[in-house]
Amino acid sequence: MVRTVTSFGRSGTFDWLYQRVTAVILLAYVLFIVGFIFFTKDFSYQTWSELFAQRWMRVFSLVALLSTVIHAWIGLWSVVTDYITNRMMGGKATVLRLFVEAILAAVAVLYTVWGIEILWGV
C-alpha cells in the first residue's frame, strides 16, 4: 500500500474508473460537436450561438469541461510522479513535484471558473 495525498481519489481503482468514465464523456462531447458542425444545414454563428443558448448544452459543456479537468489531473499526476521522483533527483524532487502539481491545480481551477463564465456569459 502506497500512501498518496495528491492523487485525484486516493484509491487507484477510483482514479482508474474516473479516467475511463470521463474519457467516454469526452468522446461523446467531441462526436457531438464535430457532428453538429458537419451536419447542421447553413452552419453559422447564428446556429452555433443558438446551440449554446440552451441550458442542456451548457450543462453538457460544463460536464465535458469538468471531465477534461479530472481526466487531465489523473493523467498528468501519473506523468509527474513517474518522471519527477526523489529516487532520481533526491530531495529537490519533492519541491519540484509539488510546484508542478500546484500549477496544474491552479490551471484546473482557472479553466473551470473561466469555462463557467463563458458558458453562462453568452
Binding site: 500500500m1 498518496t4 486516493r10 474508473l17 501519473s78 513517474d82 529516487r87
Partner: protein
C-alpha cells in the same frame, strides 16, 4: 567468427561502465548465449555473470540480450545474433553490482510486499487442503514464474517507480494467490493493492508479455486483479 560486445563494470576499478568487444569461434554451432559466456569466461576470468541450472528453470541468468531481456541459457545465437553480432547488457533499471550481475533487492522487496504464500487460518485437514481440478486449473499460467526479473526490468513503470509499483512479476504472483481457492486473505490482499501505484501504474504496454522466457502473461493477470478491485469497489 562471432562478435560479442559485453557491458563491463567493476565499481572497484572502473570510473564508468564500458562495452568490451570479444571474438569467439563458434565452429558453426548454434550455441546458447550462456555457452558463449562460459567460453568467453575461459578467455577472460574477470567476466562476471550469474548462472545456475543452465536450462531455464532457476532464473539466474536473466540479462539484456541484443536489446531484449531473456535467459542466456535458453536463448540460441540464431535468435540473439542472426547477423553474427551479440550484445549483452545487464537487466535494465536495476543497480549493477559488477558486469552482468545486478542488485535484485528492489525486485524482491516488491515480491515480498504481495505476501507470496498461502494464507488460511482454518484448521489444517489431516492430509492436505483439497482443490477441485477446475480450481487448480486457475493457477496455470501463474505458478510457472521463475522470478528471473526479465519482465519487471522491461517495464518502464517499474524503471520509474521500482519502490512503489509492484511490477509484472510481483503482480503475476499476487494474482496467483488471489486466484487460489485455498487462500482466504483475498480481501486483505486486494486492500493492500488498492492505491494509485501498486497495480495501477501498469498501462498495459505488454513489454512483460513480450519478454517472458516462460511465455506467461502478466498483463492478463494484472487485468484480473483490476477487475477484482473494481468488482469490490462499485
Amino acid at each position: 567468427m562471432l562478435k560479442v560486445s559485453i557491458y563491463r563494470y567493476n565499481p572497484e576499478t572502473d570510473k564508468a561502465p564500458y562495452m568490451q568487444d570479444y571474438q569467439l569461434d563458434t565452429q558453426g554451432k548454434d550455441l546458447m548465449v550462456l555457452d558463449v559466456l562460459e567460453l568467453l569466461k575461459a578467455q577472460d576470468p574477470t567476466l562476471s555473470f550469474r548462472r545456475s541450472c543452465r536450462e531455464g528453470v532457476c532464473g539466474s541468468d536473466g540479462m539484456n540480450i541484443s536489446g531484449r531481456n531473456g535467459l542466456a541459457c535458453t536463448t540460441p545465437l540464431s535468435e540473439a545474433a542472426p547477423k553474427g553480432k551479440l550484445i549483452l547488457r545487464p537487466l535494465p533499471g536495476l543497480p549493477v553490482i559488477r558486469d552482468l550481475v545486478v542488485d535484485m533487492e528492489q525486485f524482491y522487496e516488491q515480491y515480498k510486499k504481495i505476501e507470496p504464500y498461502l494464507q488460511n487460518d482454518t484448521p489444517a485437514p489431516a492430509i492436505e487442503r483439497l482443490q477441485s481440478p477446475e480450481d487448480r486449473e486457475k493457477l496455470d499460467g501463474l505458478y510457472e514464474c521463475i522470478l528471473c526479473a526479465c519482465c519487471s526490468t522491461a517495464c518502464p513503470s517499474f524503471w520509474w517507480n521500482p519502490d512503489k509499483f509492484i511490477g509484472p512479476a510481483g503482480l503475476l504472483q499476487a494474482y496467483r494467490f488471489l486466484a487460489d481457492s485455498r487462500d482466504l486473505a483475498t480481501d486483505e490482499r486486494l486492500s493492500k493493492l488498492d492505491d494509485p501505484f501498486s497495480v495501477f501504474r501498469c498501462h498495459g504496454i505488454q513489454n512483460c508479455v513480450n519478454v517472458c522466457p516462460k511465455g506467461l502473461n502478466p498483463t492478463r493477470a494484472i487485468g484480473h486483479i483490476r477487475n477484482m478491485l473494481l468488482t469490490r469497489a462499485v
